[in-house]
Symmetry: C2
Subunit: 340 residues, 2 copies
């Protein structure tokens, strides 16, 4: 007799995101049906009941936790999280702290989600501020970029922590045992770049990570390394360019083929799916907030049911990959010879 | 009787670039045939004679200036320019200073070209270091990015000078009388971004330029402003991503259509030209080095004849657009209320 597999319970801010609560609840129900996670919906019970009434959830692993209200997109995150300790995002985060859930996900506004995570779960020692990242394009499905988050003005040691985080990401989410790490730069030679890149290079070289040197901007599409590190200002700019680039170039391309209406029509369907797979590559939308002492996954504000299910899956992998403890262990190892 | 049009004489380092002197001379001959410029080839006379002997240049507006040698790619630019005052790049630059030519172009290594320009022509007052930029993609043919050059660690006032330079670029090369200027950032709201962006915003707002606020990474393809300013580290990363992105995405796309061999074959020819036009958009390869007190155009190291002809045309437009004096005038205007 096999023991029933323990499902990973994941709290969801049912009230966060452009399509909350409808699409959030819908995605949670889908995920529950797949059977690998136990979604824990957090929001005002009456709203949750109303949404759940739309589905047949008998026997499904899905729970609810009541919250008194929620934080609106336009509210000041720091103030709102403090003033509304019973808001859906706060309750969801606290459920991770208390152990009621093992992780949380939310399409909540970044500010509120991060503030709540900082307040109720705190940072891992050795990391100053939250870090996000991931694979940007199907063209380079084994290449992740860190940081795409809040670390705009970085010190060299920050890039080192991004490299550690990226290494764990690549191991757990991409299945690469010894991921290569590279520094984003304007040329491949050591000594190139701005002050940050020049100073981070030797630190990465001595880190004990699988550092292969500098890569240039195109590497996020050509996949020259499994992990590419940069500050979040550069990362964000590249991310947004790459995000729109796929569909723009494909659109341009299709436009050029418009002169051949019959062929064009035949192709349009096929090409649409090609473009879609290219654009949807952006796994950042289901992105773990690294550095928080707990598994917290931020979804894009405009996430729909499919993205919710993906984010729940992402959180499950993070829990099962034990990313928080892996990160603590790696940080401790590095700190034996480099002071973070 | 109409007066014969005065041709713009442009010195060329005939020894600079991966395909020098063959492709450089070939491009110069092409440009001379078009009749709008008078190329002035600079290099060892014997080499120039040998190359020119391959063409019928009788009656063509083309001249030579002898140089004793040239600077090799691997030499230290600062030392080489000092030690070789009679190298082709140095002689070409000096010909602009002396008035023998009105501008110069070179596929010379960037370091040597810039060092030579700095030494023999100097910087315009109010600009610290050379600036380069231009249109990155045919998807946004009316959008130029500055800086893509050497200004890796910028102060806010540097971004202001990029905005002035970009404005002149857009007027002269894109024919836009009152170009819109935007700051590259991670969000559109004022106050977003790294320290540089946050501090540059108010400066741009008060500049008297046609500043429209922040734009995000995708704007270099969607063309939300005529001029987008950023430091050269970010600019270079975006440039290299965009440069490779077009062909990579198109390649991916074509690959997806491979399943339809007959249609694919039919399309391949058409699509190749579409991709080519997308990729060749990179006008940076014919890029003026802004801030130098004279018109100096840097070509890509792997430029061939066609790129040489384009660079000569680019230099001619810069001379006829009087960009150096325009820049001095605009700088003076801004300095009345902002200290650069």
């Amino acid at each position: 007799m096999t023991e029933p597999k323990r499902r990973v319970s994941i709290a969801i801010d049912a009230m966060g995101g452009d399509y909350a609560p409808q699409e959030i609840v819908s995605g949670a129900v889908d995920a529950a049906r797949r059977g690998k996670v136990e979604p824990v919906l957090v929001g005002p019970q009456s709203i949750l009941d109303e949404e759940l009434a739309k589905y047949d959830i008998s026997g499904l692993p899905i729970r609810c936790i009541n919250a008194d209200g929620f934080i609106k997109e336009e509210e000041n995150p720091a103030l709102a999280v403090r003033r509304k300790p019973n808001s859906s995002v706060a309750i969801a985060t606290k459920s991770v702290k208390s152990g009621e859930a093992t992780a949380m996900v939310g399409a909540t506004a970044t500010g509120s989600l991060v503030t709540s995570a900082l307040q109720y779960l705190g940072m891992i020692e050795g990391i100053d501020r939250p870090v996000i990242g991931g694979v940007l394009s199907t063209l380079a499905p084994k290449t992740a970029i860190f940081d795409l988050g809040v670390n705009m003005d970085c010190k060299p040691r920050h890039l080192l922590t991004f490299a550690i985080i990226g290494t764990i990401y690549a191991r757990v989410f991409l299945g690469i045992p010894n991921p290569t790490v590279a520094l984003l730069n304007v040329g491949i030679e050591e000594g190139k770049g701005n002050r940050l890149a020049r100073e981070a290079f030797p630190l990465l070289k001595e880190s004990g990570l699988n550092f292969i040197g500098n890569v240039e901007g195109h590497a996020i599409l050509t996949g020259d390394a499994n992990v590419i590190v940069c500050d979040a200002f550069v990362g964000n700019c590249l991310f947004k360019l790459s995000e729109s680039g796929g569909s723009l170039v494909a659109g341009y391309f299709m436009d050029k083929l418009k002169k051949y209406p019959i062929i064009g029509q035949l192709l349009r369907r096929k090409s649409k799916s090609a473009v879609a797979s290219l654009v949807s590559a952006n796994s950042v939308s289901g992105g773990l907030i690294w550095g928080i002492d707990g598994v917290v996954v931020k979804m894009h504000g405009h996430s729909k049911a499919a993205q919710v299910a993906t984010a729940l899956e992402h959180a499950r992998m993070a829990v099962e990959g034990d990313v928080v403890n892996c990160l603590k262990t790696e940080l401790a190892k590095i700190q034996e010879h480099i002071n973070l």
